[in-house]
């Protein structure tokens, strides 16, 4: 589609009528990418699930049947609709304080997505900046970056997250920054080695010979060539961050009650898990679904973009 549009636009602007203006033009990389994306089942399923969860989070006040904080001790531990005493009033039942599980699940998506996305972006900025600088400048800069990566790799994520969040006291902002600072290593490793390879390519040499500054080369020549990889890592990183957030909340050191968070919901259901297993299975399934959807979408993006990433 786009090639046709482009061609008419150009010939409209310049009606030169060159003799070699034959009508076949190879499809553009973007057109090829769209074509591959349409045929990729995993990408379609993954992005659909993510889209549903994102919409759920955005329109939570409109969708949620109840207030996620409203307690009703007379209606506590009601089975979900498929259970023995379940009803359509509380589709996923209620928890030990009589709060509607579905409403809490819908609001909880906000926390998971907010934490996952923002922390992944923070990690991406830190990691990509370090990786590009180390890979491009080499020498002492690179030695410093490699040192930082090694230090980071030596840190046990959960342990550090636990200790720092126990000190910082569980605000969402602190949690996001903490997770951002704990997961940048993958971006740095990948962007560094890609930049090292690219630095010797002749298009970088041409840009230098044309008088381009280093910052121009980093922004205009190198970064656009890394974006696909960065997006793929970001998807994997986001899934990891959502899991770590859930784990921290489960351990009581992430999101503080009564804020609805999926990890916290699993934690709260733990006391009655042998009698009311749905209380941990439903939020657990939600975490599983979001993480696998993000991974599927990430793999899909890689499959769709990598044939160009090579070139």
């Amino acid at each position: 589609m786009s090639t046709i549009v482009t061609r008419t636009a150009v010939s409209g602007a310049a009606p030169a009528g060159r003799s070699d203006d034959f009508d076949t033009l190879a499809p553009s990389p973007k057109a090829l990418m769209r074509k591959r994306a349409k045929g990729h089942v995993g990408l379609i399923i993954g992005t659909t699930i993510i889209a549903v969860i994102v919409l759920m989070a955005v329109f939570a006040p409109l969708i949620a049947p109840y207030d996620p904080y409203a307690q009703d001790l007379s209606r506590r531990l009601i089975d979900p609709v498929w259970g023995a005493k379940g009803s359509w009033d509380n589709i996923f039942g209620t928890d030990a304080l009589g709060r509607d599980v579905l409403s809490r699940l819908i609001y909880g998506a906000r926390i998971s997505l907010l934490v996952g996305f923002t922390a992944a972006v923070i990690a991406g900025i830190i990691g990509t900046a370090l990786g590009i600088l180390g890979g491009y400048y080499g020498g002492k800069v690179d030695a410093f970056v490699v040192y930082l990566i090694n230090v980071k790799l030596a840190l046990p994520v959960i342990l550090v997250a636990l200790s720092v969040s126990s000190i910082s006291g569980g605000s969402i902002m602190a949690l996001i920054i903490l997770l951002g600072f704990l997961t940048w290593d993958r971006y740095a490793v990948v962007t560094r080695s890609m930049t090292q390879q690219m630095r010797e390519r002749e298009f970088i040499m041409s840009s230098k010979a044309a008088g381009a500054s280093n910052s121009r080369i980093l922004w205009r020549e190198i970064l656009p060539n890394l974006m696909n990889q960065v997006i793929i890592i970001a998807s994997l990183d986001m899934a990891l961050i959502i899991l770590v957030e859930a784990a921290l909340s489960f351990l009581g050191l992430g999101i503080r009650p009564p804020t609805p968070s999926w990890g916290l919901m699993v934690s709260e259901g733990r006391a009655v898990m042998f009698f009311k297993p749905y209380l941990i299975m439903i939020p657990g399934a939600a975490i599983f679904l979001l993480v696998i959807a993000i991974n599927m979408a990430g793999d899909g993006i890689r499959d769709v973009t990598s044939p160009e990433g090579r070139g």
């Binding site: 150009v10 060159r18 070699d20 499809p27 553009s28 002749e202």
Partner: protein
């Protein structure tokens, strides 16, 4: 004046018309396996190369793979600092010239058009980039300039929005040439611009370079290992062996009457289109020497069919004869006496 400037060359010549490009005793030493605690092994990729280039001339540098041609071109483009020696552009030392000013005088065309274009940019963006870097003209003027340049190098205007992956090798090389010429440089350094291309496309690109040279009064430094290309393109030729220039002079003289045994062997290596003749016997069988451990005396002596005893012990002098230079004991009258 020759394509090759000797150190003894009278300075008067430069006073009359400044040379477009000149190198004096240029060297580049790489240290292989250098660590912070140890110096590494020195590799003299380019070893004392002096050459010069007047406006409008084409100087070709020929030599085998690994003889230092590309390192020489990278230094002349200011992409690698020389270990020693000087480079002059229009009579000014390169170290005094601002990078951007230098870029407007000297531009490269690289060997591999598959690697020299950013795969994420469109052809229009690639060709326009130098104009943006140097902040020349308004956006409208820049686009007009890009379109004019595309026409000039034989690209269709509708390709302005296509990506490099949509073009053939020859078309990509045309894009690389357009990018080099858009800021109207005086000198183009072509590092084997046709060796990655199909034979049929090579001729087109060479013809394009020739006609652009006439139209834009360009000076070329043309690096190649293809002697037929050199013969077609250049006014002067310099033969490089293991980082040094062993013979140089006007192309017709060097090609028709090669004096250095290495040049003679290279001339023999040109393949004829005659079938059944087989490969020419060029007496260079012993392989390219290890540049980390170059032969003593004359660096060519282990492969030279005319090698004498003194060739392995005495480094040959640089002999000048008008426009021609040579480094070989066979042509040194003092060696003949001894």
């Amino acid at each position: 004046m020759s394509a090759l400037a000797m150190k003894e060359r009278p300075q008067v010549a430069t006073a009359i018309e400044p040379l477009a490009f000149e190198t004096r005793d240029l060297s580049k030493v790489f240290h292989i396996g250098r660590k912070w605690y140890a110096g590494g092994q020195p590799l003299r990729a380019v070893d004392g190369v002096s050459l010069s280039l007047r406006r409008g001339e084409v100087l070709a540098i020929v030599g085998e793979s690994g003889c230092g041609k590309t390192t020489l071109s990278r230094m002349m483009l200011g992409l690698q600092p020389p270990s020693s020696g000087e480079i002059f552009v229009g009579g000014e030392p390169l170290t005094n010239v601002d990078r951007k000013v230098f870029a407007r005088r000297v531009q490269p065309v690289f060997q591999d058009p598959y690697s020299s274009l950013n795969p994420r940019k469109t052809i229009g963006e690639i060709i326009r980039d130098p104009l943006l870097i140097h902040n020349i003209g308004t956006a409208k003027e820049q686009v007009a300039e890009v379109e004019a340049m595309m026409e000039r190098v034989g690209l269709a205007r509708r390709q302005i929005h296509s990506y490099p992956s949509q073009l053939s090798g020859g078309q990509r090389q045309r894009v690389a040439i357009a990018r080099a010429l858009i800021i109207k440089p005086e000198i183009i350094i072509c590092d084997e611009p046709t060796s990655a291309l199909d034979v049929s496309v090579q001729a087109q690109i060479l013809n394009l370079l020739q006609s652009l040279r006439e139209q834009m009064n360009l000076t070329y430094l043309f690096i190649s290992h293809d002697l037929s290309v050199v013969e077609y393109m250049s006014d002067y030729v310099a033969v490089m062996y293991l980082g040094r220039i062993v013979e140089a002079g006007p192309t017709s003289e060097v090609m028709n009457a090669p004096r250095h045994p290495y040049t003679r062997a290279l001339m023999k290596s040109i393949l004829t289109p005659e079938p059944g003749l087989g490969l020419p016997d060029i007496h260079l069988g012993r392989g390219f020497p290890d540049p980390l451990n170059p032969p003593s005396g004359c660096r060519f002596h282990p492969r030279c069919i005319d090698a004498m005893d003194k060739c392995s012990s005495i480094v040959p002098r640089t002999l000048t004869d008008g426009e021609k230079i040579i480094e070989c004991h066979l042509h040194d009258p003092e060696m003949a006496k001894a």
